[in-house]
Symmetry: C2
Subunit: 297 residues, 2 copies
């Protein structure tokens, strides 16, 4: 039951996100054509769409209109995709494959990749601030603030900077935890929080959902570390075992495989426990938490 609930939602969200990007990124008949092709290459057809799924599943708790949560989730995915494009650049993680396809700077060139990332970044905020996304400007402004904080130097981009430094430093578990909370956790939390903002939940009413997102984000990262160490490159669609080669400390290197697996399972239980005040309407969020550790890519 939980499996089919999740499978259905994953498939629906994937189709919805692709359709929205397709509509937003119509290729213009001018010198920007490659810029749009590059954005489409990165944004359409690939990825688990975890962030839009979380926004929708959270917004569903409060019976938010699906078009609204779909637009917001896809705007958040645009910001996620921009970060992947920039992280893959030669000066950063220097990755040639992503989601089973050549990365943007390989399929196009570096300049186009930088600009495609910049454009998806701006596009995310444009959609969040657009009256077509939500009629209430208070909701729109709060969504922008939520996402801008999660994307900037105290969130995703700050975490990526720490991650680059990790090759040169010996980080301890507390520092790796903080790094990952910024690098991947902040945007995951923002995606859940966006659903609550759409549901008009006041900040003090979001404690449980924020706790869920926090634990889910860490579990997600530990699962990622495990997949990086033990996974299949074909299934993952990208190069694996790079952290080990670079000598970076990760949850895995610091904890060891079995303790890491246990901590991951414990965090998933804890994430689900944060949803105790919700009934069956939160079953999708619970299924997402379990999926995060059970996925094979």
């Amino acid at each position: 039951m939980a499996g089919s609930l999740l499978d259905g939602a994953l498939a629906e969200v994937a189709a919805d996100v692709d359709a929205r990007f397709d509509a937003w990124l119509t290729i213009p008949d001018d010198a920007r054509a490659d810029l749009y092709r590059a954005m489409r290459h990165a944004a359409i057809g690939g990825g688990k769409r975890l962030r839009p799924l979380l926004t929708r599943a959270t917004a569903d708790l409060f019976a938010v209109d699906r078009d609204c949560s779909g637009r917001v989730g896809t705007a958040i995915e645009a910001i996620h995709v921009y970060s992947l494009i920039h992280d893959d650049l030669p000066a950063m993680d220097d990755d040639a494959m992503r989601r089973g396809k050549p990365t943007v700077h390989i399929a196009f060139d570096e300049a186009t990749a930088i600009l495609a990332g910049d454009c998806l970044h701006a596009l995310g905020f444009e959609v969040l601030a657009d009256p077509a996304t939500h009629p209430d400007p208070f909701v729109r402004a709060e969504l922008v603030l939520d996402l801008a904080r999660a994307a900037g130097p105290t969130g995703m981009a700050g975490g990526q900077m720490m991650d680059l430094e990790a090759e040169r430093s010996r980080f301890d578990l507390a520092t790796v935890t903080r790094l990952q909370q910024m690098k991947t956790g902040a945007l995951i939390t923002a995606a859940v929080e966006a659903g609550a903002i759409l549901g008009r939940v006041a900040p003090e009413g979001r404690v449980g959902l924020r706790g869920y997102a926090h634990d889910l984000g860490l579990a997600f990262q530990i699962a990622d570390d495990l997949l990086d160490a033990e996974g299949d490159e074909e299934l993952a669609g990208k190069k694996l075992r790079k952290d080990e080669v670079a000598g970076k400390e990760t949850f895995l290197s610091l904890l060891g495989v079995e303790p890491a697996r246990q901590r991951c399972a414990m965090l998933v239980d804890q994430a689900i426990e944060h949803l105790r005040h919700y009934g069956a309407e939160a079953d999708l969020l619970r299924a997402i938490a379990r999926y995060v550790v059970e996925r094979d890519h």
Copy 2:
């Protein structure tokens, strides 16, 4: 008189923008220290601060609180500075000097430059959406929408993509005009429009100001082309005559020096003419328009 009005405003805005960036970009005591140092290097102490000056001068027409227009103008400058950092990257315009200092990827490294740009981009939207910037969420959401459109693929970043293509194509005057309206004009127009949004001017009441900004943006670009061809590298603080070497069509190459100078002067007159419904309160905007052609860097 007009000279001292402008000089005073230029100096005040420069000090105000520097003070705000200094407060926003406190260097943290962790692995992100270089990221913040890089943002400070690019954002503090340099540039004409034309965009914050335009936001303040426009907001002043409507007696907007100076702290409010200062925050918004500095957020717009953050977006402008992010674009300069990315434009200077080796994969883009490959510039080693900017505002008389080494560019960010030279003073730090490419990864730090990419992330510093990304962070200033997010920071700009964070400030615009922050309740501390303006109490009315409608104003905040409109500011974000205004800036996101100006920064994205239909504005600044789209114009930069066209500019990169300009080396490979032979653009005509209409295409160069469109390119420049996107690359530099969109953000200049957004800076003026932001002042009008803060002044609670309805979109239909912004026609004159938008006309002013449109003509100012083009005049600014032609003046830039003239400075690029005839200016002093020391004064400009960056490498000049790159377009000519790259074989790019510009206003200058398409029009010739004297016709370009005349067109620039004509656009300034036209920009000022758009302000005819305003009295002495718009003298600073008029002085800015004249300054744009008369400046030597």
